[in-house]
């Protein structure tokens, strides 16, 4: 199993733009160790639409150049220690967004259009610091009606964890359709799953309704409890104690290093 995950990690090349899901949608935590061992750096992470533990660990491991996100935190376990430290030190670039702007950028990529209009954002400092966003005019309005235009976000890779895949590579994502949105928008999609089943997920309308077709999925690997310490909807709950243990440890670079050494050793 670990060799499968290492093979997946080798798909990641330095400088790639990687889309990662929000903590409750299905984070492939099982891939964090293999990614760190693999060592491809200068990554541009796109949080869909916010980040947490995985982002913090990849930043702490020095693999990240830029984080495009609407927020990064450990939720109930507090702020993201490595991320916050890197922001303070200026060692990573944060590209601050707002949740629907990330969704809009992915939707533009899904639709094959260069940009999506979006309400809000005007006269914010978010907009002021995003030279890649433009303000256009709504040509359908009677008078002046400025509207922000969000360019397409086209990640190289979407990476997430889901409950089930079938032998053909179809992945059951249930109602977490942002995972589909990530896959549509990305060049390649890498998925870890709790289990791989023999039945065709597209074979009946009930399971098909929550399935991301293999058409969008490049590689699937088995990783039971692969979201841990995050939970996976319908499967298991978040291990808050472990998140707190990490949050406490990662308060210092030394503590982070020790925590990760333990994690990488376990996964070896």
């Amino acid at each position: 199993m670990q060799s499968d995950l290492r093979a997946l990690a080798r798909r990641i090349e330095p400088g790639m733009r990687i889309a990662l899901p929000v903590d409750y949608a299905g984070v492939s935590m099982a891939m964090t160790g293999p990614m760190i061992r693999h060592g491809a750096g200068d990554l541009h992470l796109v949080c869909v639409p916010t980040g947490g533990l995985q982002v913090d660990q990849l930043v702490g491991a020095g693999l990240v150049k830029r984080v495009e996100t609407s927020a990064v935190s450990l939720g109930e376990a507090g702020g993201a220690p490595c991320f916050n430290r890197a922001v303070g030190d200026g060692t990573i670039e944060v590209v601050d967004a707002t949740c629907p702007a990330i969704h809009a950028g992915l939707m533009a990529a899904q639709k094959g259009i260069p940009f999506m209009p979006m309400r809000g954002l005007l006269e914010t400092d978010l907009l002021a610091h995003r030279p890649d966003w433009r303000v256009g005019e709504n040509p359908f309005a009677e008078g002046e009606d400025p509207i922000v235009l969000i360019p397409a976000i086209r990640p190289d890779i979407a990476l997430f964890h889901a409950p089930t895949a079938d032998r053909a590579g179809n992945v059951w994502i249930g109602r977490r359709r942002e995972l589909a949105a990530m896959a549509y928008a990305s060049t390649a999609t890498i998925v870890t799953v709790e289990r791989i089943v023999d039945d065709n997920l597209l074979g009946n309308e009930m399971s098909a309704a929550g399935t991301l077709p293999a058409l969008y999925v490049d590689t699937v690997a088995l990783a039971p409890r692969g979201a841990w310490p995050y939970g996976l909807w319908g499967e298991y709950a978040t291990d808050i104690a472990e998140l707190r243990r990490y949050a406490a440890a990662a308060r210092t670079p030394q503590g982070f290093g020790d925590y990760m050494a333990g994690l990488l050793k376990e996964a070896a």
């Binding site: 929000v22 409750y24 949608a25 869909v48 639409p49 916010t50 996100t69 609407s70 927020a71 990064v72 935190s73 939720g75 109930e76 702020g79 993201a80 991320f83 916050n84 922001v87 303070g88 030190d89 200026g90 670039e93 944060v94 601050d96 967004a97 707002t98 949740c99 629907p100 702007a101 969704h103 939707m107 979006m118 309400r119 809000g120 954002l121 005007l122 006269e123 914010t124 400092d125 978010l126 907009l127 610091h129 008078g143 002046e144 009606d145 400025p146 509207i147 109602r175 977490r176 359709r177 942002e178 995972l179 589909a180 949105a181 909807w233």
Partner: protein, 259 residues
């Protein structure tokens, strides 16, 4: 004499009052007091035979009416199907601007807070945004935020159906005047005085000479809160509900707070 009321019960009851007339309220993850306020409003409307209130709690499975991923909340708000939402802020200023990104010079903010989440959109499109922050200190309520995640008001030519309706803190309740772009003190919570509020608030605000005390919930409302609402709350926020239950038990043994 009224029964002893916990300060958080005042907050919950006030939120329920601010939500009067809404049909769909969304609450962010880890927001037990706004969620409790919305649950109380729902219970009150149901008892009165009024229109049912729908409550969406982000990240909750129990209170998740969405099936189209995390974009659906924003779509739903954009369609005008969400009447009220709650926002906080590491800093909030007198113009209703909120900062969820960090203090000091951006981008190397110190401290850095998580980020703007959906505020830069929802503040514009949800008709009744309630700013809620329990900590009422000059550190939070600043003259001018260091970073505008979302502005309290917008230039007239900007499409903005939504915006702030009120600011509720651990000490007081303010309303927001869109034209003047500023807050007005509506009431002080029991035990607070105007001078104390002024000292704790880094921005100036409109106020009457003798602001009233924030109303305590009527006995029937309080009963609903301590019964059905606390039960419902336990399902989604077990720790918060258990703590409030312990506090209420302690209250019973202490002298009444409310006059």
């Amino acid at each position: 004499m009224t029964a002893a009321v916990h300060p958080r019960e005042i907050l919950i009851a006030t939120i329920a009052r601010l939500l009067d007339g809404t049909r769909h309220v969304a609450v962010g993850a880890s927001s037990p007091i706004p969620a409790a306020g919305a649950m109380l409003r729902r219970a009150l409307q149901e008892e009165a035979g009024g229109a049912p209130l729908r409550l969406s709690i982000l990240g909750s499975v129990e209170h998740n009416f969405f099936t189209n991923g995390s974009a659906e909340l924003f779509d739903c708000a954009g369609q005008g199907r969400i009447d009220a939402f709650f926002l906080g802020g590491g800093q909030i200023d007198g113009s209703g601007n909120i900062n969820l990104v960090g203090a000091g010079d951006y981008p190397r903010s110190a401290p850095r807070w998580p980020g703007s989440f959906g505020s830069a959109y929802l503040y514009f499109v949800v008709p009744r945004v309630i700013l809620f922050r329990e900590e009422h200190t000059p550190r939070v309520f600043v003259p001018k935020v260091d970073f505008i995640s979302a502005p309290g008001a917008s230039s007239p030519h900007i499409h903005r159906p939504g915006g702030p309706a009120a600011l509720l803190t651990g000490k007081a309740l303010f309303s927001f005047d869109k034209t003047r772009r500023g807050f007005a003190l509506e009431s002080l919570h029991s035990g607070e005085d105007l001078a104390g509020i002024k000292a704790a608030t880094g921005f100036s605000f409109a106020h009457g000479a003798a602001p009233p005390v924030t109303a305590a919930p009527a006995p029937a409302t309080l009963a609903l809160l301590r019964g059905r609402v606390l039960d419902e709350l336990s399902e989604t926020y077990p720790d918060f509900a258990a703590q409030l239950r312990r506090d209420l038990a302690a209250l019973d043994e202490a002298p009444a707070l409310a006059s």
